[in-house]
Amino acid sequence: MTMRGIKRIFRISLLRPRDIDREVDDEIAFHLSMREAKLRAGGVSDDDAARLARDRFGNISGIRGECVEESRQLAKQERASLMVDEVRRDAMYAFRSLRRAKGFTAAVVLTLALGIGANATMYAIINAVVLHPVSGVKDPAMVFELDEPLAYPEYRDLAERTPSLRLGAISERRIALGQGKGADHTTGALVSGNLFSIVGVPAAVGRTLTDRDDVAGVAPVAVVTHEYWARALGGDSSIVGRTVTVNGAPVTVVGVAAKNFRGLHLGLAPAIWLPIHAWNAIAPSSQQSHRIDSRNWSWLRVVGRIPAGASFDVAQNALTTSMATLDPGAPPFVVAQRARPLSVQAAALPTRAREGVVRFIAVLAIVVTLGLLTACANIAGLMLSRAAYREREIGVRIALGAGRGRLLRQLLTEALLLATAGGVAGIGLFVFVRGLFRQLTLPGGVEGSAIALDIDARLIGFAIALTLVTGLLVGLVPALQASRADALSSLKGGLGRGARQQWLRGALVTAQVSVALVLLIGTGLFARALSRALALDIGFRADGLMTLTVDPGLAQFDSPHALQYYADVSARVSAVPGVTGATWAANTALSNERDRESASLSGYTPPPNVLVMLERNAVGPRYHEVFGIPLVAGRGFDERDVDGSPLVAIINETAAKRYFAGRSAIGGYVTMGKHSMQIVGVSRDTKNHELSETPSPYIYMPLLQLSESAVGAPTLVVRVKDDGFRSTRSIVDAARSANPAVPIFDVATMSQRLHFVLAPQLVGAWLLGAFGVLALIVAAIGIYGVVAYAVSQRTREIGIRMALGARAASVLGLVVRGNVAFVAVGIPIGIALGLILARAMARFLYGLRPTDPLTFAVTSFTILAVGALAAFVPARRAVRIDPLIALRSDD
């Protein structure tokens, strides 16, 4: 025997303490007997020899104790290194056997990567949006925000009436930060002086804002974000006392906010914080008519902190009571509107976006969890088939004395190795998806890039946990199954365990079928919703339209200057080859911009306590023609409708039907504020914000007639001949050449805007579809495997039946019948789960019923058909069995 062999045997025997004692005793006994023998050979008597040998040896029990102790230590070390050794050997063995099965390994790793990657991404999103919505805020659960924006005097009144709630206010606004052409067009937040103390954000450098900064007549000061300070101001601590330019006005920097504070609203992270009273100094020329002391300008979001020990309910009641008494002189409908319970909630997403984003995320979370479960079921199925295939190998190893525990460990090691590879690939996938997510716009207009998907310790922990769980999930069943194998029957071909294994694989097929069906139902619903959405009449021609937005107010243009600028830009853009028309609109279609105002219409008396609200848009000449909105009656705007000419307006069909029922709207009058406009046209209804909206009354006014409010951030609408938008670049250049100091942003084609609006459906359909098809394929493979196995097990029986004259159809039925049952059971389960998913999706379906029978029927039928096909292919082999060969087969 080789030295290594001896060592191995010896080492294993060392593992038991009893053996250690015996070995030490044997060793000492051997020494004593050798010594005695030598003494006797030298003539010493037997008795003396024994005594002398002991004397010469010394304290036997002491020495024995020392030796045992040392040996035990050694054994402990050996055991540890043996374990490391075995784990390494198991890993190497698993690695080698996986390398031999390249296709299997690739399929499993890829599936796991998809599942783990999607879940890691989902977790990161939930982490960013739901678990950590407001980073940097102290005790964010106690911070709330009112649903309704308030005017500054209203906010002050409310704050005075509810001193215990510590109310503050914030308004995020688009600003030009810096000077001239080099200015950053970014977000700035105007905040009450107490905001930093309410949210508990300290300064990283200098100080934060205080109440003393937020009073009239004080020179404007500002706190910059850590990010802006590091990026644009050089991260220099001498920043305090320096001056920055906001919308052309000088502002003194007093500090830098703590690094992790990115503002209160997702997607509206400001670069700079200014006191509310700085507004008078920095207001863009377009908004200088908006004064802080106006009661009609509701621009502030009110936030507050609940005092320690108080509850949200108490805060909500106090606020509702105060709101109701705030303005007793207001018309009753205004009071009625304010008296409704204010929902007080943790401030995170902009209120309007919150529900949409959370629901969208909920749908995605369901999808990816199902996806991972499918992946696990699929892989467990694959592993099981592999275990069946390796039955003989495992039988041989058991026969050679491999322990059951050892075998189990080995198969688990294999599963964990696969899971680890899948986990690593999954994280890679996450990094890739993160890049895509940044370009996505979530429902409600929140940019994906505003949600920081960080790879932090929590995410890594989640990924590792996910990997371990999937590894166990995927490996345990096949491992237990395989380790139950007994050597003899495995070597003979595994007759005894066929039934149990067959049942297990059948159950897996059922699970796969139901999950595949759920995913396909989701895909089907999204796809149907998409086709419905695209077939919707949006009321204008979206193809060949391009939009870009300018903001001359940030360059402090006055009204005549701005009007001249608009004319200049549209002239320059119209001259670009391929452009057939260019005009302006205050608000873009399919965006979140909305501008509603109360109005009265000639000949229409509203019911008591009902205010007529019209959504309005100020548009340039030939707007309806350029945008492709058909006029039902009257004329569109043209060059006649300028400053000084009679005020005119165009209303949409809904407004005409509602307010001019039974009479012609043309020639009627609409009064809004101090303007009274004559209606010259009626146009078709259009979709203005979402594809699912129902038409509401809408009014168009000529931009050029509203000179006192001409400076805004209007959108240039350009129609081009071909939809290829090769001219995009030259259009933007032409617009910029009119005046490079005016910021240009949101350059997009109308079809891009359509895609943004449809993002949830598109992303949902793709994700669900990808997982659904994957699930379907693997379910098909599973069914194929089960039937093929059944055929191989019953070859002899089939042969006998055929020899006795059974018809092919009855043989086919024999093999397929039992297995199609597994599919059939999966379908009702899938439908039940699908209904749950569909309910969560309802908001995104554009009026499609979540129980859409067509989707459910088609997907169920697809699954059934695929299942039948997967069963039929191997079953056909049974029919072709030659009875002679079958009878001779060794089973």
Partner: protein, 116 residues
């Protein structure tokens, strides 16, 4: 025996065991016999003290063990140098020589020499 004597003794026994094994694997008794004859019976007063030293060396992986048949065909535990043991022996031998030379030299100095 003082603590220092014990330490020196332990070190020297370890060193001699490693040396004894340079001729090949030996069992404990053979090692004791070799040390006895190599040191004229001066070092190993109690042969038993050899065994804790052997087990200690085994734990520290300087020697490895195996059971084999002895010259009179009895089951005996054999010790063999590992490569770590060989390195240890070489290092300890030179350290030992340096110490012996230094101590020897120091002890050889006479009172007269010291005064100059």
């Amino acid at each position: 025996m003082s603590e220092m004597d014990l330490h020196v003794l332990r070190e020297s026994v370890d060193l001699l065991i490693l040396k004894a094994l340079t001729w090949g694997p030996r069992h404990g008794y053979a090692i004791a016999e070799w040390i006895d004859s190599a040191t004229n019976g001066t070092l190993l007063i109690e042969e038993g003290t050899l065994y804790p030293a052997l087990h200690r060396l085994a734990r520290r992986r300087f020697v490895r063990t195996q059971w084999g048949a002895s010259e009179n065909n009895r089951k005996a535990k054999y010790y063999e140098l590992t490569s770590a043991g060989r390195v240890r022996l070489a290092a300890q031998t030179s350290t030992w020589r340096r110490h012996v030379d230094a101590i020897g030299g120091a002890l050889a100095l006479s009172a007269v020499d010291r005064r100059t």
